[in-house]
């Protein structure tokens, strides 16, 4: 995903302004705003559009803004930690405040693609550093000493020679008179001087979470709120023909019922529903609004009857897709008619003819639903021609509320609320659109009846969420590899038929062994009708591709008679088209063989890989390596498998390189362990299937996540390697190599090669 956080423009200025009731605001201003003030007569202390990140309170505590959404990956800690480090205050002096969605002030406020850390690492530090430097200047001027002799710590300025100290708060009034500071003059701390970054810093919402305070989107409860359910067609693209609206209206607690028509379809190539880059649209359905959610849900499940126009997707099914795909696979040696070759180096077909050994295999993985634990919900209040919305969207957008409620984006107030998990599901925000539509309809109907407008919470049931997701695309890969007489990989071909509109072809920088084999050819062909929406799920597209690539790479190594880990290291040491990186940039950089080798070597040593032959029968170790979202992760998993296909993950080791600096060491370890556990869910039980154009699975009983008993005590050991590259994100990279590490370990334990997920389909269960 392409993102641009509002970087501090070279022409920006940092300026202090007064806080009503005492205290100091530190803001970032565009040059024009600063100069306008300087020119203006008696410029007011609080200028237009202050991009305020820091508030200095009279008691020398500090409120720092967390500008991005939070659904569990720790940005409410990480971004303020970056400011606090350079401001040189103690973390215990900090209170974190979540920003509203305001792109004018904050630029991109998104959670996606593991981008928050790399895109904010410099700007957030610059904000903190500029404030610190201006406070140093203020004190130096007051004390008439050189700035170079003035130091800071714990929110206090010191001059050792004259034994003077002053708190930041005590300097606030004088600091107001400081001239604006140019961004180009900001000097940052050296890494060795960090006091906060790299330390374990518990989540700022932990106390609210463990005491049951309202902390989540679902808990938002403005006065007088009503609750809504929205029944959509089970078949994607279907719409309401008729519904027994009048009967539903008579049910206990029900206040409003609406049949909602979809807007005209989005233009060709647009995906709608407010997804990334999409326009705003909504699916047709029936909205039931009641005194509490259970009344609305009860009226829906017991009384609502809808006559649906199921639309053209009604004829589609998983079985149909797979039949079609297997037909395409028979043509895997031919260029597809549409010319969909996505990566071609050398001549794989010619090389296969000279190979001493050929390895071929078919791999497949299913559609997945994200299933964050907090069901989709959003709260909106249409009032006086404006709309206020509370949501845990990962890409909050003013348009999502404005378009369906018929107001301008400038008339939207958008509160970003903590979400109970995201995993990419909340990149797609149908619920924000739907609730805004419903809130407008409720307000209009109440106005006609002479009643005041009220807020409305739309809450999807779990069944709604599983039936109406933007699913992780399914994939089918037909691999062919050629080895020379020494077992060296000389040709690699990957025919891909994914269903879904998100690419799962391993052609990008994450596609090792591309660049390390003379002939490499990866291409896709998926020409078939597909009416099921697909989208990004944690670590697109490697969350599926890592399984197939690492599984097949294991097969190739074993066919060559080699140690699968050493075979990868050897390949990484003999590049063909691969070019080493030109600089130390981490974010968005091409695949880096040095970093890949380093995590493999580290996990080899952590896991005692070279002594794995001493493991008992039925126990084995497997390895997987993935470059995903600018991070490098290698796993070794050790599993035990019994004769009844009962599987236990005994232990896993992770070596991770996300650059020179971990922001929050506690959250970082947690995210890696969680990524591995999520991988266990993908591995064993998760599969979404389609019949009659609708999703078959309905709830967690048919979509079982990994549970406590499957995660053995002390299972997941994590080591972060510190490399010289600029820091990158960690939301995504830890998940993709987990399933293949386990699958490769199953092979080592049993000699059985798993080529299709989930494992449950092949009769496996957790021990």
């Amino acid at each position: 995903m392409k993102t641009t956080t509002k970087q501090l423009d070279r022409r920006s200025f940092i300026k202090f302004s007064a806080l009503a009731g005492g205290g100091l605001l530190v803001g970032v201003y565009a040059d024009s705003e600063v100069f306008a003030q300087q020119r203006g007569p008696a410029a007011p202390p609080a200028p237009v559009n202050p991009n305020v990140y820091i508030t200095v309170h009279p008691d020398n505590t500090f409120t720092l803004i967390a500008k991005n959404p939070e659904t569990g990956q720790g940005m409410r800690n990480a971004l303020p930690m970056l400011i606090a480090e350079e401001l040189d205050v103690d973390w215990k002096q900090v209170k974190v405040q979540q920003a509203d969605c305001n792109p004018t002030l904050y630029g991109q406020q998104i959670e996606g693609g593991s981008t928050a850390t790399p895109t904010n690492y410099m700007p957030m530090r610059q904000v903190g550093a500029a404030a610190r430097m201006m406070l140093v200047s203020t004190a130096a001027k007051q004390w008439n000493v050189p700035e170079s002799e003035v130091t800071t710590s714990s929110g206090t300025v010191k001059h050792a020679r004259t034994n003077k100290t002053a708190t930041y708060a005590s300097l606030a009034e004088a600091a107001l008179k400081m001239p604006p500071m140019a961004v180009t003059d900001i000097k940052l701390k050296e890494q060795k001087d960090f006091k906060i970054l790299g330390t374990p810093t518990p989540g700022v919402d932990n106390m609210a979470i463990v005491t049951g305070k309202p902390a989540f989107s679902i808990d938002v409860n403005p006065q007088g709120m009503l609750y809504a359910v929205y029944q959509k067609c089970p078949t994607f693209g279907g719409k309401v023909m008729s519904a027994n609206v009048e009967e539903v209206k008579k049910q206990p607690g029900v206040k409003h019922v609406f049949v909602i028509e979809p807007p005209p379809p989005p233009a060709a190539g647009q995906r709608g529903a407010g997804g990334p880059g999409g326009n705003v649209t909504w699916a047709g359905g029936v909205a039931i609004v009641a005194e509490n959610w259970w009344y609305a849900q009860n009226a829906r499940s017991k009384v609502l009857k809808v006559d649906w126009d199921y639309g053209p997707t009604r004829s589609q099914s998983t079985a149909g897709y797979m039949t079609h795909i297997k037909g395409l696979a028979s043509k895997a040696s031919q260029e597809p008619a549409g010319g969909n070759a996505s990566a071609k180096e050398g001549d794989a077909e010619a090389a296969f003819k000279t190979a001493a050994k050929i390895v071929e295999a078919e791999y497949e993985f299913p559609l997945l639903s994200h299933a964050p634990l907090e069901p989709q919900n959003s709260t909106a209040w249409f009032k006086d021609g404006k709309i206020e919305i509370w949501s845990c969207a990962q890409i909050p957008s003013l348009n999502d509320a404005a378009v369906p409620s018929g107001v301008q984006p400038t008339d939207v107030t958008f509160h970003m609320v903590r979400g109970g998990g995201g995993f990419g599901r909340r990149l797609y925000k149908e619920y924000d659109v739907e609730v805004s539509k419903i809130a407008r309809l409720v307000a209009d109907e109440r106005a006609k009846a002479g009643q005041p407008s009220v807020p409305v919470k739309l809450l999807w049931s779990r069944e709604d969420d599983i039936a109406h997701d933007d699913y992780r695309p399914a994939g089918y890969h037909y691999f062919k590899a050629g080895l020379d007489a020494n077992g060296k990989l000389i040709a690699f071909r990957d025919f891909v038929a994914s269903y879904g509109n998100t690419s799962v072809v391993p052609s990008g920088p994450e596609s090792f062994p591309r660049g390390f084999v003379e002939s490499y050819w990866a291409f896709r062909d998926e020409s078939m009708p597909f009416g099921v929406p697909t989208g990004a799920m944690r670590a697109p597209s490697t969350n599926g591709v890592s399984f197939v690539m690492n599984g097949f790479m294991d097969e190739v190594a074993i066919a060559a008679g080699k140690d699968p880990l050493q075979y990868r290291l050897d390949l990484l040491s003999s590049p063909t088209s691969y070019k080493p990186p030109a600089n130390r940039t981490g974010f968005g950089a091409p695949f880096n063989a040095d970093r890949a080798r380093a995590v493999l070597e580290a996990v080899r040593d952590m896991s005692d890989w070279n002594n794995r032959s001493k493991l008992p029968k039925g126990t084995g170790k497997g390895v997987a390596l993935q470059y995903a979202h600018s991070g490098y992760v290698a796993y070794v998993a050790q599993v035990s498998v019994d004769a009844n296909k009962k599987l236990k993950v005994d232990k896993a080791w992770a070596a991770v390189d996300i650059g020179e600096q971990i922001v929050n060491s506690s959250e970082a370890e947690n995210l890696v362990q969680g990524g591995f556990v999520e991988g266990m869910s993908h591995l064993m039980a998760w599969e979404i299937t389609i019949e009659n154009g609708a999703v078959v699975q309905t709830n967690f009983n048919q979509y079982q996540p990994a549970r406590m008993r499957q995660v053995a005590p002390g299972t997941i050991e994590v080591k972060f390697l510190k490399s010289d590259y600029t820091p990158t994100g960690l939301g995504e990279p830890s998940l993709p190599p987990a399933p293949p590490a386990i699958v490769n370990a199953i092979f080592a334990a049993t000699g059985i090669r798993i080529r299709a997920l989930p494992l449950a389909k092949a009769g496996y269960t957790w021990a």
């Binding site: 919402d205 959610w293 709830n699 406590m708 008993r709």
Partner: protein, 154 residues
Amino acid sequence: MPYTLKINGQSKSVDVPADMPLLWVLRDVLNMKGTKFGCGIGACGACTVHLGGTAVRACQTQISRVGNQEVKTIEGLSNDGSHPLQKAWLEVDVPQCGYCQAGQLMTAAALLAKTPKPTDADIDSAMTGNVCRCGTYVRIREAIHLAANGGRKA
């Protein structure tokens, strides 16, 4: 139907249908938002509360079946994070998204009330009905042991 409930040591009166689940009485009628909705079928554990000291799924507990039994919710564990399990959760920094943790804590509290020094197998057995979608099980286990050890690392 009018019901008088004993919740976290307080008496609360509500007038709701007999088949309304305790979860929605807590959340939408009494405005106690700590107990979470996750699946509605008793498959995820997010809504776990204590009924007469036993961990139950509030989404599967009709209000008419509560009777005189004491209901304890996450809000009743302690308001200030002083319960040993809450302290352990804070110390270990368990949460990622945090949505499941109220249910995890309530199940763990019922476990420790009956089994003050649980083994790993005891924890597996008690906690397996509580999903953590983020996968914080390693830390949940660590925090339960920490609380059982009086806050001292084993």
